[in-house]
Symmetry: C2
Subunit: 437 residues, 2 copies
């Protein structure tokens, strides 16, 4: 049997980042930027006034004071968004609003409160102003040509606004992985088919598609393949248009051989493993016509957990994400949790917080058919192979999949180092001890 | 001036949860369930075998042992997904695979390893089995009629799988708020219009629409309204088809009156405030023809921060979410941060972790025109009105908007109580001290 870390390292070492595509700003939200974005012009684009007031020639204000105000002629009154028609000459001023460009000829701003109207054409100026006083210089925020958003950035609303402010309506992002999903087994009926005795519903097709959507992929649901080489081959072939293939069931003993035989015929170089984990165990991975293909177990929980541990980081890597693993935290077990001999045991737990600590309690029966226990969980407690049983009150690391419990109570959290995983990801060292994703 | 808490309490007290809609499973991902979902049948639906083996009548195995095996007739071999054609009679057995329904007549399972084939019609049974041994009872996981998902649940992939497993292809969820967004000002040009001197790009329309998308709303971009009563009235009217109206700019002194006059004409009962916060300050809220309407400041950062503090929780409440505020954490300031006299100061900060603690450092110049400082930030440090200056090395509460920094280092976090806010949300007590969202 192969360990979870070994299997993951082997898989990730064969996953490549997808190509790029141009998308509009709103589609770019939550996507990973695939280009360095440079400022095409200075921000602000021109010298402008930081205050409401009068654009003047600084030298004209020399010696001005309350006692000896200087009188200037107001040649124009500039509403927001408009430019002066005339330059400011000696002894002249133009009324401007904050943000307005400094008119030609002017080199400083006198604040409105330092002036007084004489008539609608003249003002008294009570202060002497310096050159560039209350002037925001062109390029003060961002100089033309500097990088304002870097390749690899996960785009958020402020980035969308920033791109709009430089009039970029489309940007290059990494493509979303297209993922074909196939369920196999004569015992399966689909969500809208009669559920006759002996049959079970193809829930994997839906939970896996939802997991694909949640990590930014585009699912193609191929539906159910019967346990025949013909049907398996047809459905798998239809999946080859996708970037990734996922099948569930058909890789445990019994029907194992059909899938293996079909994948071989399709030119797959598949590696069939029993991975030392519970739930999970039977896992297939390989490359078919340059497309990564995952064969997941058929049990609903096993399928979701193996997706979480192996497929999710692969899809995030393909999508250009830097962060491909979930955070791990340390929680206090509220019940005893047994290790499983020779396997890493992933236990579905609900998380809560008390007195500044995390607490984890198993979500009832852990049968790998019991999807409800997955729906109830916030994360997966990780009990490594060969570890002692975890007693109630002892700490256990938990992979966090849902943080909805989080802001329920003031708390003090500890989250494990996971950057090492990112490192290992590139060194593909299967030996590291990290069990997180 | 009104405080941030007062403004927020007044706003949230007037926000109602929207109606429900039926959506398919994939569209339901990330939505809030608006019905209690009951199990329409037992899960598993019938007694089935927990092991590969032989379905038998327990009484027929009485006295069986290695030394004195009992011989049974194998009347059928059941592949996965099929039901027995014949009942199990005295002295008979049917071969079944894990998960297969227990055939009529049988009441227990003998594991394959406790048997031996004699010929293709007969087996030796080496053990005595109890009634119901290795039988998974109907309804063992979920009893028919019990609630498997509760109204108010935020739907995740496992929930989608669970719904599929009971053949629910559509579920009732709370509607997504439709949000009309209007930018006002003659100085604005749109993302694809020539940026002539004196003009600035309407970035607010895009950053606000992205914020609406991020919290589950559906944006309608009305574009730019000129500073004329006619244009404002036309655009605002078009916005009334939405559930919520958001305008930016047009509520500060100067042009304030137009907007006020138009909103009055549309029958609005608006409350214009100067909110004691920086960035932000001018804010309008009111109800127009039963639709909540927000007038946000025009500066790009002010618009985003006021959306974050006032509009986001309102949209989440309308969408049926229980959690409508961001988590708060305590971080160590890496620079001195000044309070602002008489105002709550929200400072854009980058977060990092060292030696198990959070650190917050301001993202450079904090001018409310500098969108880049917003794009660079992970959160908003909150310095309450009347508070002492925060010195480098002291703790400051930070509203977390982006957790991408988080799994970079092993750390020990402290997140503030925010449940109180949810409580206040219902009591609408403007007095509470919580500054988080």
């Amino acid at each position: 049997m192969i360990s979870v870390e070994e299997a993951r390292a082997i898989i990730l070492s064969q996953i490549k980042v997808l190509g790029t595509e141009k998308v509009n700003l709103f589609s770019a939200l939550g996507r990973v930027l695939a280009e360095d974005v440079l400022a095409p012009f200075n921000i602000p684009p021109w010298n402008n006034t930081a205050m409401d007031g009068f654009a003047v020639r600084a030298q004209d204000t020399r010696g001005a004071s309350r006692e000896h105000p200087i009188v200037l002629e107001v040649i124009e009154d500039l509403p927001a968004g408009y430019v002066a028609r005339y330059p400011v000459g000696p002894g002249q001023a133009i009324r401007i609003m904050t943000g307005a460009p400094i008119p030609d000829g002017a080199d400083a701003v006198v604040r409105v409160e330092d002036t007084e109207l004489i008539d609608d054409r003249h003002i008294k100026v009570f202060v002497e102003v310096e050159r560039d006083q209350d002037v925001r210089m062109a390029g003060e925020d961002v100089k033309q040509g500097t990088i304002i958003l870097e390749r690899g950035a996960l785009l958020r609303p402020a980035d969308v606004g920033l791109l709009a402010s430089i009039q970029r309506s489309f940007v290059a992002v990494y493509q979303r992985p297209i993922v074909a999903i196939l369920s196999t087994g004569d015992e399966l009926v689909d969500i809208d088919e009669p559920l006759t005795k002996g049959k079970i519903v193809n829930s994997n097709g839906y939970s896996l598609a939802a997991q694909v959507l949640e990590c930014g992929g585009i699912p193609i649901q191929l539906g159910i393949a019967k346990d025949t080489p013909e049907d398996l081959e047809e459905k798998f072939s239809h999946g080859l248009k996708a970037d990734v293939l996922i099948s569930s069931a058909g890789v445990s003993v019994g029907d194992y051989d059909y899938v293996k035989q079909v994948l071989k015929k399709l030119g797959a170089d598949m590696q069939f493993w029993k991975v030392a984990m519970k739930p999970g165990s039977p896992l297939t991975f390989g490359i078919i016509k340059e497309k990564p293909a995952f064969g997941l177990p058929g049990n609903p929980v096993s399928a979701m957990v193996t997706f979480e541990l192996f497929v999710r980081p692969a899809l995030l890597k393909m999508g250009g994400h830097k962060r491909i693993f979930r955070p791990l935290l340390k929680a206090i077990a509220e019940e005893n949790i047994k290790p499983v001999k020779g396997k890493t045991h992933f236990v579905r737990v609900r998380l809560s917080t008390k007195n500044g600590r995390y607490y984890a309690s198993p979500t009832g029966p852990q049968g790998s058919g019991i999807l409800r226990s997955m729906a109830l969980s916030h994360g997966l407690a990780v009990i490594s192979e060969g570890q002692n049983p975890i007693k109630a009150g002892e700490e256990v690391p938990v992979i966090v999949m849902d943080r909805s419990f989080e802001d329920r109570e003031s708390m003090s959290l500890r989250i494990e180092e996971t950057l090492t995983e990112d490192k290992d990801l590139h060194s593909h060292d299967p030996g590291h001890k990290e069990h997180c994703c």
